[in-house]
Subunit: 108 residues, 2 copies
DNA sequence: CCATTATGCAACCTTATGGTTGCATGTCAA
DNA sequence: TTGACATGCAACCATAAGGTTGCATAATGG
């Protein structure tokens, strides 16, 4: 179960991969070739990154002739957000609240 | 600027470090010794992980005598959520919307 | 003061990771 | 059919990452 969360966090850990997600966010359904533009590495390296993103289901693909089209899948990120980040958001709000109470107390 | 985002994503990439954050979420202000409980590695390894978390400002510390107390800092996670995840949340809702429209279209 | 406890620092090892090069495969278009 | 194009596969390399062991330092409590 948590194996997939692992893969997602891992995939997001690399800047180049986040950049690729950004590219897909800007324009969905790009080919490997397109995605290689402005990436300072070989096509093979980009391909490996995309494979990792696909493994984490952050990217889904489908073949069209000899081209492989890449699409963003926002679901895993949403899951991370829902079952992981929300928890810390809570403690953040609590911390803010504590701070506010503290300030109130000092005011008197 | 993005250097810090990098550090945060990197820190979150490791399961042991996420576990440490969870522990702090459950009980804030723990010592290194306490945090070592149930971690299947040496104290030094845990210490390194905490140093990384501290480097990403996900954890802040303060010394009390010979003990180092560790506290969760939810701010970096919130920043990631705000300026990174929110964007993908948008495309997720769009995707859902497109799907809905598609279904509506087919119904007629 | 001294033994104990809590932590840090540094060297070292193994494996994972990100990258490269070279070649193979499959599809398109002339 | 053939050459060019889009991609995949595999071997290889350098460095980073996660872990260990051993020793140093500093506070605590009897």
């Amino acid at each position: 179960m948590s194996r997939n969360e692992d893969r997602v966090f891992n995939a997001l850990a690399d800047g180049s991969r986040r950049k690729l997600l950004d590219k897909l966010c800007a324009k969905n359904g790009q080919t490997l070739g397109e995605l290689c533009a402005h990436m300072k590495m070989t096509r093979q390296a980009v391909s490996k990154h995309l494979a990792l993103l696909e493994g984490a289901r952050l990217v889904v693909t489908h073949w069209q002739g000899r081209e492989k089209l890449h699409y963003l899948n926002p679901v895993p990120i949403h899951e991370i957000q829902a079952r992981w980040i929300a928890k810390y958001e809570l403690s953040r709000l609590q911390a803010l609240d504590e701070l506010k109470t503290e300030l109130e107390r000092k005011k008197r």
